[in-house]
Symmetry: C2
Subunit: 554 residues, 2 copies
């Protein structure tokens, strides 16, 4: 059995290793265009600031080490030019010598990754504009940082990689600006959750231009000007373009392999392309989103690694019945945003809305661990779920413990759990690590109350619209303390502190629907319960409280 693998990093190298472990006899050839196989793509941005100080640490395993351990025929600086499916051969070019060779295969694996989007914006060819995908890209950026000593960095694109680069520029001492075309950074998050990151980044003195796009770039003698569609201009000494990636499908397309509707290589559940001898994994393929059931591009290392392990087995399988299924991905992801972690899994509210599925969404703010134990940090957690309780997705942002809660919910979603199941999870509790009612339990509590009708909530945007368009149609009650109310409240809100509510029910008019709120939602919920049982029929509680409202409308 002779196997050729194109692409020697996350998907390709992992598959090669698993193939060798499974089959000591197979001939395995690993083709990589770049100078390095098996490097840490995900670590690249952190070398900019020196957080990962040694460049060598980014080389997870060297060619020599990999060959010694796994007896793989590794060919770096070698590009696969074309695939001849009829003869089962691949044409390769050695990028150093220019020599071209033809290599035959029994099975071929494509793990070519993705290419960085570089739209034809005028001026995009500026030598001050970089992209970041691999080690040579990083080397170019590092060289420019060293030679030109830029002071002002502009990152185009507020997605995960863009934000990582921005943070690392900032940590290196550059004044950093992020330009994002959408109304918020962090695309997989909903507005009010991303707003937490906006506030945090601004606190760190990162400048954000939201809802604005680059019109063109103009080079000046010692800097470049970024012209935005809004007419604004930003001076930049270095610019990183990070507006997304697209599956690297040239080889596949040229070879006549079927592509999907959203531009990735089409594979079946065994990760086989339209040619039975050719398999594909990683950023280049389309996967099924496990939650929505729709086709999706999920260019993340976790899925690439797991697909690689499955595909290796399937490439060696005697027949399809012996193959393993890849059951799709759900886009669990996380990003360090300075001191915060922003993590998510499944679908966000906007995505569920776009699918037209009935849903509810609630927001809680809980301590990362018991509040009486030092160091507890707030986690803001948004849960999106169906009317039958099925969890569609979650987003968590906080200084500590957001990753843990999203991993738990990702596991729950994979298991098809409902919000009642989240309420019932038995998670590890001691004061330094959690709470007897873990944030995930509490999110489950709130969601089950919402679904069983014991807690009517209103979202910040709905309330904002009412306050803007028809403020007189509701009565707004702030149940926080007079001290909290004095600092800031919602326009038109009356203050009746929760602990006095029972005594002061007479002050509340019965003509209009009531909206109650507190800081995070808990006291508002208790007030809601009192009011509903005291003859007020239409009451709702602002989910996520004043905190979420203030962030979202800032």
């Amino acid at each position: 059995m002779k196997i050729i693998i194109i692409g020697g990093v996350a998907g390709g190298a992992t598959a090669a290793a698993r193939l060798r472990r499974s089959d000591e006899q197979a001939e395995i050839v690993l083709i990589e265009r770049g100078p390095y196989i098996s490097f840490a793509n995900c670590g690249l941005p952190y070398h900019i600031s020196g957080a990962i100080a040694e460049r060598g640490k980014l080389l997870v395993t060297t060619e020599a080490g990999f060959t010694a351990r796994y007896a793989i025929d590794v060919r770096s600086r070698t590009e696969a030019l074309s695939i001849d499916r009829a003869h089962k051969t691949v044409t390769l070019r050695n990028l150093d010598s220019g020599e071209e060779t033809v290599e035959s295969y029994d099975r071929l694996l494509l793990s070519p990754g993705a290419e960085v989007l570089k739209p034809p914006i005028p001026g995009i060819g500026s030598p001050r504009i970089f992209t970041l995908r691999n080690i040579p890209d990083l080397d170019r950026i590092m060289a420019s940082l060293g030679e030109n000593k830029p002071r002002r960095a502009v990152v185009i694109g507020g997605g995960f990689i863009g934000l990582e680069v921005a943070e690392n520029f900032h940590d290196r001492g550059l004044f950093t600006t992020v330009v994002e075309g959408a109304s918020h950074i962090l695309p997989p998050f909903d507005d009010e959750m991303a707003a937490i990151a906006h506030a945090h980044m601004r606190e760190k003195q990162v400048e954000l231009y939201l809802g604005d796009k680059v019109d063109h770039f103009e080079d000046r003698a010692d800097h470049t000007i970024v012209f935005l569609a809004s007419g604004k201009r930003i001076q930049a000494d270095i610019i990183i373009l990070s507006i997304g990636v697209r599956p690297e499908v040239k080889l596949a397309r040229d070879a006549g392999l079927e592509l999907g509707a959203i531009g990735g290589i089409k594979v079946d559940e065994h990760l086989r392309t339209s040619d039975p001898a050719i398999f594909a994994v990683g950023d280049a393929i389309e996967v099924v989103n496990k939650v929505s059931g729709k086709t999706a591009l999920i260019p993340l290392a976790g899925p690439a690694n797991r697909q690689a392990r499955i595909v290796a087995d399937n490439m060696l399988a005697a027949d399809p019945s012996a193959c393993k299924k890849y059951r799709g991905a759900m886009g669990t992801a996380i990003l360090k945003v300075f001191d915060l972690a922003a993590a998510c899994t499944g679908l966000n509210e906007a995505a569920v809305q776009a699918l037209g599925i009935p849903y509810r969404a609630s927001i809680t703010h809980s301590g990362s661990h018991a509040s009486y134990y030092p160091g507890s940090q707030q986690i803001s957690l948004k849960l999106v779920y169906g009317l039958d309780g099925r969890v569609f997705g979650a987003q968590a942002i906080g200084i500590d413990g957001a990753d843990k809660r999203i991993d738990v919910i990702a596991t729950a979603i994979k298991a098809g759990m409902t919000v009642d199941d989240l309420a019932d999870l038995e998670l590890a509790y001691a004061p330094p690590f959690g709470s007897a009612k873990d944030p995930v339990n509490v999110a489950g509590y709130v969601a089950s109350n919402v679904l069983d009708g014991s807690h009517d909530i209103i979202g910040w945007s709905e309330l904002r619209d009412i306050l803007r368009d028809a403020p007189d149609t509701i009565e707004l009650i702030d149940v926080r303390t007079p001290e909290e109310y004095a600092i800031a409240s919602l326009p038109g809100a009356r203050n009746i502190e929760l602990n006095q509510l029972r005594k002061r029910l007479g002050e509340i008019g019965r003509g209009k629907p009531l909206v109650v709120f507190c800081q995070v939602g808990l006291r508002g919920y208790v007030a809601y319960r009192i009011l509903k049982q005291s003859g007020f029929d239409e009451v709702s509680n602002l989910t996520g409280g004043f905190k979420t409202y203030a962030w979202a409308t800032e």
Copy 2:
């Protein structure tokens, strides 16, 4: 509806709050023997060192605050003396005035917790011996620390609370000794996992006496001597007895309520006792262990809190069909052991063995996050699973991220997941938070290899027995580097570095079963794969590697 709740802390106060939220009209009386309701039992040990500096922080909510918010009739310093089930009354004694009153109920909830075991060891009445269960206990300990300035502390019992107390004594500057009757501390853990904590505590200069019991105590003028069964003696200025708790069932027993075989109050799945008007939750009840299906005592705050929320609903339910089910607990728990977190869920190997269920157990050591990103810490993870792949339990110990992995696995166990599902989990990955192959995925990989026959493992204790009893029956190969081998290896092991194995196969005799090992298990596994496919039929790899073996046999 008039409801009396006996016990005003984790179970009782939580149930009271939920009852009020659900029913604004009910009369709710909360009876607590101690001076405080709703205090943070779990935080008590941390006040000893000052980690939780303010005593007031341990009072999660005050009587006044609770009454104001929830309109509950709170009676602290009031003991429930007896229950008259026929007349549905409880006799109460005000512990300040001595006055006794009789209070009627429609529904009664028992959440009396547990009492600390205090066996009749000679000398146990010493004024230098304390227990820790509530605030008055803590006050006594703090007073003694202040007045007597003890320098040497002895903690009897290496369970969770004992170890917390020991750590906090140590952090306060006392020379601290822990005496544990079993062969290892941390009862829910298996030996080789607890051994990690042994090593760590000894590094911190905490003295451990394992497999030894107190024979008697003798007071001297200015200290007490702890005499152990082994004949050893320890001088102590202060002693904490922490050998466990037993359900507080006096009231229930006297009232003729059914108790279970292991000494707790018997409840049905709706948390109702044998009397339909009386419910019970918390440390006092017996629960079903969700994994084993057997009855268990699980005296932890998480279960108590969740039971309380369920029982509150059931106490108000019109009939059993409207009741919610408590589906049992699995003993997910965590403990801070100095810099380590030790977390577990489900059954350990010893428990599965005792049940006589066929199982496998494997150990991995993975980084808490990508190794190239600074601050990655090793997590040792043990997974115990059935031959069908069902996960029975897991234990994780490490400086960072053990809590997360156990919470994920606890969620997976609740969902009935298999080790293949663990391999397939999509967890949040970015370099500061995890790895593209998360430690949970890797544990799933290893376990599925073990189950599908592609990886034969041997446990440290089995190998220890062979090396002791019949070392000549196997051939032992250390596949680490010569440098690692030179520092320490197993007796009789031959060193063939993994990366040279293919070339040096000829040096290995074919007569005996081979046992290979490396530092953590990964290289051993790769070596295993090479050997198995090179004509060596009987090979096994030491699970957890030399690292686990060394810890366990230290």
